[in-house]
Amino acid sequence: MANAIQFKVNGVARSFDGEPDMPLLWYIRDTLGLTGTKFGCGVGLCGACAIHKNGDATRACITPMSSLAGAEIRTIEDIGANGLHPVQKMWMQFNVPQCGYCQSGQIMQAIALLKGKPKPTDQDVDDGMAANICRCGTYQRIRAAIKAAAQESA
């Protein structure tokens, strides 16, 4: 395991010595069985696989395992593990999800957005969330929930 890559997922130390080009998405889903992070496009166009890498929203489907040395990875399963995050609470209050498939990624993206922009304007929400597709079309409620979560966290 001399060349194994060392990193953390949801606070747990992990080591990987497999195919270095494999995207993190499949390690998370197939190896660790953490299926909250979704496969949507495979090329970084839809955001269904958004996770946090060192606190930044990152597309797991285009993040190769070889880039993870020392990284802190956080997935939806760790958000609210000790009580729901304000973003999750507002997602529930505004009844955001329809099919729900993209919502893990939307929530991860929204949390990262609020970290950088604690009081986001409409333009901030557009800029921060435009890389995440919701095919059911829940955008209006996503916007409302993000703004409410910003109030909640204030």
């Binding site: 499949w26 979704k38 949507g40 166009l45 729901l84 999800p97 919701c134 095919r135 079309g137």
Partner: protein, 555 residues
């Protein structure tokens, strides 16, 4: 009333088809024939088998026409992870015999559809004498409309897990149609339907795609062949390229107009490859249930009326997509109505109400009108209800009263589908570069008795976004029989900055029997948006998607 599984949905714990797992399962990725009906000439799997994690490849038989819900055929790569299966598949070397659909070209096909639409065709419904009225009138107006093939693109690509064991199949699948899963697996494997157990998972979107279980059958066939549970995972590219597309359609419209600009005769003719073509290779005419979607039931009270349908042969699989034939039929009828209003120099909302006329029940005696499979006594087509939602949306949207910004316009449309009456007003802003923004949508809905208003409103909010995707950029095309789009870069769908900013949904209080709410928001939204673009720019949209038209000031 909140959703039952909301906590799971916001914590990543909800289990979709993509998340189904049983110990010992293999992952499969399938290279399908690039052209519908194509067959394998030769396969070289040597490099694929060298990929770490890949265990074997399996050749899948091509379907026997008609395709229905059969697997498409191709070569499956099986592996111990999704990624390994994807990688192995990239290393396959396959020579294809593409078959007769190799000549399918969307540009050429479009011309053929449009030519067919200009010729007399099969009568679907008629009254009076349209030809005589056209010959004797001073003023006629005609226009042609076109809507391309559309893909569903649900966020969860097609996926299914199946295990064949002891003569039975267990399938875990995100399906809208578990009975069809049983039927197709039963026929593929020669086992009884009762021996197919379909475990329906959560669906990561469907929009009609997941009522066609070809992908579930693939998993079952593979499990049967390899003796292990198999999870078939389609890529996004597979999803876009091997969909059952909403039909491409050409519509021809002609009206004879009196001195007030009101139609005295009305001819409408649509041409599209029918959904029935997936079940019958000879099917070229629209079937009554799909013609009934906003075409047979054109509601205006016009003394001379001809509703026609022309033939079109399918070269891809055609299928149901959220509101189906209502998409292109509603676009043609409601845009043509707006065109006539402007020609008559009338307010489009007033003109629309004039054409809807006084409350009456449409009479389909002697007409094949399936009415969405519902009893006509229970769910009659009442123009008074369409009139009411139209009057209400005029009021709720502030039509004619609202101050609009520079480059902005309002458009209106009304449509009944799935037994529900909807009128929609869209506000659009078009900047000098031709980029559009949709600040506001108002939709009034009469769906009869509504059980869950919150979820119903969400459906109409979502329908406005879905309609935005169709209108802005929804277009699937083929060249040499191969679909040219592949992912969200070439088949874009609306993002948060492109979707309507605010959609207001108003539900009519009603004791009428309950009706559909998932689909009916889509058909009126699209023409209302296009009519708004006309109001804002003077540019008439007769062809979708909008990306085909330069809406900028310079053009």
């Amino acid at each position: 009333m909140t959703s039952y599984d909301l906590t799971e949905l916001v914590t990543g714990k909800a289990v979709y088809g993509m998340d189904a797992h049983i110990d010992g399962m293999l992952y499969a990725s399938i290279e399908h024939p690039p052209v519908l009906g194509g067959k394998i000439k030769s396969v070289d799997n040597a490099e694929a088998l060298k990929v770490a994690g890949v265990s074997q490849t399996v050749v899948l038989d091509p379907f026997k026409p008609p395709p229905a819900f059969q697997p498409l055929g191709g070569v499956a790569v099986l592996a111990n992870s999704t990624w390994a299966a994807f990688q192995g598949r990239k290393k396959l070397k396959i020579e294809w015999d593409n078959g007769p659909n190799e000549t399918y070209d969307s540009d050429q096909y479009k011309k053929e559809l449009q030519e067919t639409a200009r010729k007399p065709a099969k009568l679907i419904r008629g009254q009076g004498d349209v030809d005589k009225a056209f010959a004797s009138t001073e003023s006629t107006f005609e226009a042609e409309y076109y809507v391309p093939l559309l893909a569903h693109a649900p966020m969860e690509p097609m996926v299914a897990l199946a295990e064949f064991k002891d003569g039975k199949v267990h399938a875990w699948a995100p399906t809208q149609n578990p009975q069809a899963v049983q039927a197709i697996i039963s026929s593929e494997l020669g086992i009884r339907k009762e021996d197919v157990i379909c475990h329906v998972t959560l669906l990561g979107g469907g929009f009609g795609r997941k009522s066609k279980p070809d992908y579930v059958a693939e998993a079952a066939v593979l499990s049967h062949k390899v003796g292990r549970p198999v999870k078939v995972v389609w890529t996004r590219e597979d999803d876009i390229k091997f969909d059952y597309y909403n039909a491409v359609a050409a519509m021809y419209m002609k009206a004879a107009l009196d001195s007030n600009g009101k139609p005295t005769a009305w001819l409408q003719r649509s041409v599209f490859p029918p959904i029935t073509s997936i079940f019958d290779v000879n099917a070229v005419y629209g079937d009554p249930p799909h013609l009934a979607q906003g075409w047979t039931d054109m509601p205006y009270d016009i003394p001379n009326l001809r509703i026609e349908n022309g033939p079109a042969k399918a070269h891809v699989r055609i299928g149901w997509l959220r509101s189906v034939a209502n998409i292109y039929h509603g676009f043609a009828v409601q845009t043509f109505t707006d065109e006539l209003a402007h020609r008559a120099k009338r307010d489009p909302a007033d003109y629309l109400l004039d054409l809807i006329g006084q409350p009456r029940t449409l009479n389909f005696t002697g007409v094949d009108y399936p009415n969405y499979g519902a009893s006509y006594d229970t769910y009659p087509w009442e123009t008074g209800r369409l009139r009411r939602v139209t009057e209400m949306v005029v009021e709720k949207s502030g039509w004619g009263k609202r101050k609009l910004g520079k480059g902005a316009g309002l458009g209106i449309a009304a449509h009944r589908s799935f037994l529900t009456y909807v009128a929609t007003v869209v506000e659009v802003e078009v900047n000098d570069d031709g980029d559009i923004r949709i600040p506001r949508v108002d939709a009034v809905v009469d769906a009869g008795l509504v059980v869950n208003p919150e979820v119903t409103k969400a459906q109409f909010e979502g329908a406005a976004v879905f309609g935005t995707s169709v209108a802005r950029s929804g277009e699937i095309t083929a060249k040499n029989g191969v679909i040219e789009q592949s992912n969200f870069d070439t088949y874009p769908v609306a993002r948060i900055n492109e979707a309507p900013y605010q959609t207001n949904v108003y539900l009519v209080e009603s004791d009428a029997p309950p009706a559909g709410v998932g689909e009916p928001g889509v058909p009126p939204f699209i023409p209302a948006l296009c009519n708004a673009i006309y109001a804002a720019t003077g540019k008439r949209i007769r062809e979708l998607p909008l990306s085909r038209t330069d809406l900028g000031k310079q053009s």
